[in-house]
């Protein structure tokens, strides 16, 4: 029983990290319909921004982390402004955008590997490293912070989308882009805003993983892949769905290990995903997968 509780707790922590990615990626996909795999690059860049901020520039960790989130938001925005928007203006189809996005991801990952080596770069996280015992379960302070941050991020995003003008405009574009344009919403501006917010929500996941086990150049690919899976499982366009999708993936990955050898860990999430889209294509909440496009 202790083992199940421990695996459950670890699953919630890992699931929270996935959920941050899922929230950000899902917001961008739901609004722009861009299959933005370069989100993985933004996730990874956030980790390196924080690393450089703390270890090269010498900023205190909280300052470095906040600066990294802002820079990551700017990076996401720039990918839309300098890559997707010019391509769209020239009438590129979604597949072209996807290939360009994939190219960006690979370019960023390899550049980081060349500049910083492929080895994980450890940060100093001080007291966040302290192991905390909750009954039979052991977690670090950083893990508790991770879970808290996901709750805050999801709530903030929900409030922003419901109660601010910009948030409402994003929702309008997500549900009916042509209608939104007709009533005078500037689609390009809303896309830029969506990229900035989506990137800012997922950036903490990149930074938190780096604080836990070190910044690594190729980690973003796994996370963005899982984020897209989580969004489809949760239901496209649904914030609670994205949250649940991410958490669910973390939980299967870890609880699955209870009875299945651990080398099956990552195969497990994708196996469950395949079953899921066959049995319940709508996801937990939201639109049908079949209507989702690349």
């Amino acid at each position: 029983m202790d083992l199940v509780l421990q695996l459950f707790a670890t699953g919630v922590v890992v699931g929270s990290l996935y959920a941050l990615c899922t929230l950000g990626w899902g917001l961008i996909y739901g609004t722009t319909l861009h299959f933005h795999v370069a989100h993985g690059a933004v996730f990874t860049l956030a980790a390196y921004y924080a690393y450089v901020g703390q270890k090269v520039v010498g900023l205190p960790l909280p300052v470095a982390a906040v600066a990294a989130v802002i820079l990551a938001a700017a990076s996401g925005l720039l990918i839309d402004r300098l890559l997707y928007q010019p391509l769209e203006r020239r009438g590129a189809v979604r597949t072209t955008l996807f290939i360009a996005s994939l190219g960006t991801l690979i370019l960023v990952e390899n550049t980081l590997a060349i500049v910083f080596t492929p080895d994980p770069l450890r940060m100093d996280i001080g007291i966040l490293q302290t192991s905390i015992r909750l009954g039979p379960v052991f977690l670090t302070a950083l893990h508790l912070l991770t879970v808290a941050l996901v709750i805050v991020a999801a709530a903030a995003l929900m409030l922003f989308l419901r109660h601010t003008r910009s948030g409402q405009a994003i929702r309008a574009v997500a549900s009916a882009p042509e209608m939104a344009r007709t009533v005078g919403v500037d689609l390009r501006r809303i896309h830029l805003l969506t990229y900035a917010i989506g990137s800012a929500i997922s950036a903490p996941a990149g930074i938190l993983v780096a604080m836990d086990v070190g910044a690594e150049p190729y980690r973003g690919t796994t996370f963005v892949l899982l984020a897209s899976v989580g969004v489809i499982m949760g239901g496209i366009g649904s914030i609670p769905g994205a949250l649940l999708g991410g958490l669910f993936l973390g939980l299967i990955e870890n609880l699955g290990v209870w009875k299945i050898p651990s080398e099956w860990q990552s195969a497990l999430s994708f196996g469950v995903f395949l079953l899921f889209i066959l049995v319940r294509p709508r996801g937990f909440f939201g639109r049908r997968v079949a209507s989702a496009e690349l």
Binding site: L7, T10, D119, S131, P261, Q265
Partner: protein, 372 residues
């Protein structure tokens, strides 16, 4: 007819000229090492050790008057990268000899070396499968020697009779785990659980949680490189308080610095940090030398000695077969750590020390002498 003869004579003279030029050209050898990836710390030691050896050899006039040059290549713990590097060494650089490291990469390049008559000297990989291979020599004991010693020490001397195993999912890890199971059982111990980890992984909490639940008086690590410190720290974080244990390959700088690895039970192979070599290493690279630095220093020196012998026999010609015959006939080499004897299985025997890791140093409790 006369003109043809003149051409032949001229060609022969030209060929002799090339041969004479080749005699003063540098001797190039290869070194396929983990320069990046999870074992990059070994790479720093291995490359530095080989470089210092080459400098010393060249400062003393080279090998039969020819300078020694080492062509370094990275395998990043990946067998296919090692094969690419070996092909380049064989086909482009045409080396007679290469230093090699790690079990899976070395096993992958060995057939290429044997086919092209290139001698390989492994000073790092310890899989039992590295023994008895043509053209491959190991200036390190294979793992069954060392794992045998630690399994026995843990079960009999330390009275730790049940063990949970965490094993790297590669040739070296699996071979170490298999040997540990056999030797530990022979010493009266019992393995209660085993979980596998990837060498380039960074989060092993799920595996460690399972091992914790399985119980056991000891967590035995069949992995190496930066993995060991991650396993140690995450084990402690999960409340695993039983002793950790592992052989000499677990002792990299990351492990010495890891708070979780404090008190780890370990075997090590003899390395004296007071050697002039160690001081030279520290001055040149700014990091402390370790056992594996000496290994590749020694491997390079063995080559120089064997090449000199081979060239003496062949009248100045140097090829892989000459080096192989020289190693086989010399068998015993003087090294900075004492005499090194190649066994009939192409591996070296060494004294093995068992002890406890404290404050970044192994406090030796027992020495098991090699019986040559």
């Amino acid at each position: 007819m006369r003109r043809l003869r003149t051409v032949i004579v001229t060609l022969t003279l030209a060929a002799a000229g090339i041969a004479a030029a080749a005699d003063s050209a540098p001797i190039r050898i290869g070194a396929i090492l983990p320069l990046t990836g999870s074992g990059a710390s070994y790479g720093v030691w291995m490359k530095g050790g080989a470089e210092i050896a080459a400098e010393e050899i060249n400062a003393a006039g080279g090998i039969a008057g020819r300078k020694l040059e080492i062509v370094f290549d990275d395998h990043a713990a990946d067998a296919s990268k090692a094969v690419n590097a070996m092909r380049r060494l064989v086909e482009v650089e045409k080396v007679p000899f290469t230093l090699t490291s790690y079990s899976a990469p070395t096993l992958a390049i060995q057939p290429i070396g044997a086919q092209h008559h290139v001698v390989m000297m492994n000073g790092g990989g310890q899989s039992d499968n590295l023994a008895n291979k043509d053209y491959l020599y190991n200036n390190i004991p294979v793992v069954s020697n060392e794992v045998g010693v630690i399994a026995d020490w843990l079960a009999r001397d330390k009275k730790l009779r049940t063990a949970a195993l965490v094993t790297a999912n590669d040739e070296a890890g699996r071979n170490s785990a298999k040997t540990f199971r056999d030797k530990y059982a022979a010493a009266g111990g019992r393995v209660v659980a085993e979980e596998q980890v990837t060498l380039d992984g960074t989060d092993f909490r799920a595996q460690l949680a399972k091992l914790k639940a399985a119980g056991g008086e000891l967590l035995y690590i069949n992995s190496y490189g930066r993995n060991v410190a991650i396993i140690a720290d995450q084990a402690r974080e999960l409340g695993i308080t039983i002793p950790l244990a592992g052989t000499s390959w677990t002792l990299v700088p990351e492990t010495f610095k890891s708070p979780g690895a404090e008190g780890m039970l370990t075997t090590k192979l003899p390395f004296d940090p007071e050697l002039p070599f160690a001081k030279k290493f520290r001055a040149k690279y700014g990091v402390d030398a370790g056992f594996f630095a000496v290994q590749y220093y020694t491997g390079t020196k063995i080559f120089a000695r064997a090449a000199e012998e081979a060239m003496k026999k062949s009248g100045g010609r140097l090829d892989g077969d000459g080096v192989k015959q020289a190693i086989e006939s010399l068998k015993v080499f003087d090294t900075i750590s004492g005499k090194l004897v190649f066994q009939p299985n192409h591996a070296a025997l060494m004294d093995i020390e068992a002890g406890v890791l404290r404050g970044g140093k192994v406090q030796v409790e027992k020495v098991i002498k090699a019986s040559h």
